[in-house]
């Protein structure tokens, strides 16, 4: 028990003298990375010699080096020609489906706070109506604006029936750090496609962003099991909000509790709870 600790201590001392060395992104996939770490992209690993220290061999055919375009996802930032980790989480990589590019790297982090991203579908609460624009609270640092014409079949004469306090399911068309986010309830063809005002009954509750992504993954069993339990309507917002409606209030509350608890339960515990509920 003592020997590994001592070896680690020696390695730590050596590292502190050399400064933190960047690691290859490939070697850290699916492991927890911390803010401040630098990652090398695959094409740069050859350039770094065993001594490291930023020495590069002089190349005569520098221009012919193949450039791979890698997409930097959430939690990573470009720092020179390396990736700097800015959030704590597991490093993930997705190969490009077709064509060129080195794929996407991102950090899977668990957080509760939502930051608006263009194209995300979210559930918002209408907080104000001012002139031609609704102000919708989406859980970010400022409310998003939603024009009354951004609904299916809405014209200047035919206004949508939206009141303060209604729930809206829409997507962002403008979402960056410099401007106020804007959302719409139609897609690019002008059809609603499920977006718009959500019905009046049901329950809205908040979960972490990681759980939403897990539930929306294509192979998620939780939603299938929940569907077998009771007939329900459910809407997931990428901002951590879930709206649920079942036949009775009691069933709605049970479903809300199950979904909130799913984050901390293992698969077996979940199956136990579902079987117990199915019996009763």
């Amino acid at each position: 028990m003592l020997a590994p600790a001592m070896a680690e201590v020696v390695a730590v001392a050596a590292e502190s003298l050399a400064g933190s060395r960047a690691r290859a992104a490939r070697t850290v996939l699916n492991q927890v990375v911390l803010p401040g770490e630098e990652l090398l992209l695959p094409e740069q690993e050859d350039a770094e010699g065993p001594g490291g220290g930023g020495e590069r061999p002089l190349r005569l055919n520098a221009g012919a080096r193949s450039r791979v375009r890698v997409v930097c996802g959430p939690g990573l930032r470009r720092c020179g020609d390396r990736l700097l980790v800015t959030k704590c989480g597991r490093l993930r990589h997705k190969e490009p489906g077709s064509g060129s590019g080195g794929g996407v790297y991102w950090v899977d982090s668990q957080q509760k706070r939502y930051v608006p991203v263009k194209g995300d579908h979210v559930i918002g609460i209408v907080t104000a109506k001012s002139g031609d624009i609704f102000k919708v609270d989406v859980g970010g640092s400022e409310p998003a604006s939603l024009s009354y014409l951004a609904f299916e079949g809405a014209t200047k004469r035919n206004r949508p029936n939206v009141q303060v306090g209604d729930l809206i399911y829409g997507q962002f068309v403008v979402a960056n750090k410099d401007m106020e986010p804007e959302m719409v309830c139609i897609d690019s063809c002008g059809r609603a496609n499920g977006m718009g005002v959500i019905g009046h009954d049901g329950l809205l509750f908040k979960v972490t962003l990681g759980l939403i992504r897990k539930l929306l993954a294509p192979d998620c069993e939780i939603i299938q099991e929940v569907g077998k339990l009771y007939p329900l309507e459910i809407v997931f917002g990428m901002n951590g909000r879930i709206w649920v409606k079942a036949k009775t209030i009691q069933q709605t509350l049970i479903l809300a509790n199950i979904l909130e608890a799913c984050e901390h339960m293992t698969t077996d515990q979940r199956k136990q709870i579902f079987s117990r509920l199915a019996e009763s």
């Binding site: 600790a5 927890v32 982090s109 957080q111 706070r113 640092s141 901390h264």
Partner: protein, 197 residues
Amino acid sequence: MEGTMHADAKIRAETGTESGPRGPGCSLRHFACEQNLLSRPDGSASFMQGVAEKSREQLIRNTCEAVVLGALHPRTSITVVLQVISDAGSLLACCLNAACMALVDAGVPMRALFCGVTCTLGADGTLVLDPTAKQEKEARAVLTFALDSVEQKLLMSTTKGLYSDAELQQCLAAAQAASQHVFRFYRESLQRRYSKS
């Protein structure tokens, strides 16, 4: 690894500490950390270590500002609320550690992690890291440093008392060595958190 002696500074081993993995010449008390405790705020963490309000707030704020990537969140305020549950010495260092863990838990983008280390100089020049409240009161000088995780650079330092230039450098070097221990603890704590999912 108990009680390694350096050529120029004698570091006393703490009595009654847990025997965790120790770096050379580093004797910090046992740590415990819990994350995501409170349901309402975006992020929360509790950091327990061993045991002047406005200036302390300013010091913690300056450290956080140096590390958080504020350019990604313009026109946004980030509020860090620290509640002292018990003070057993090294309070400012413990606050810095808690603030760092809370920022990581909330998912605020940062360019590095940071930690706080306190050390005291006794009347005879002995250097003690992570002192208890009693040791802080009896010391000749108390120095607190905030160090970043990338290259152990100094982010913030606050000192109280009488010390020489050479002693300052010694304390800084000892704090840098001790910070490795803290960062390793951060890494283990976060790995444990992500291993549950």
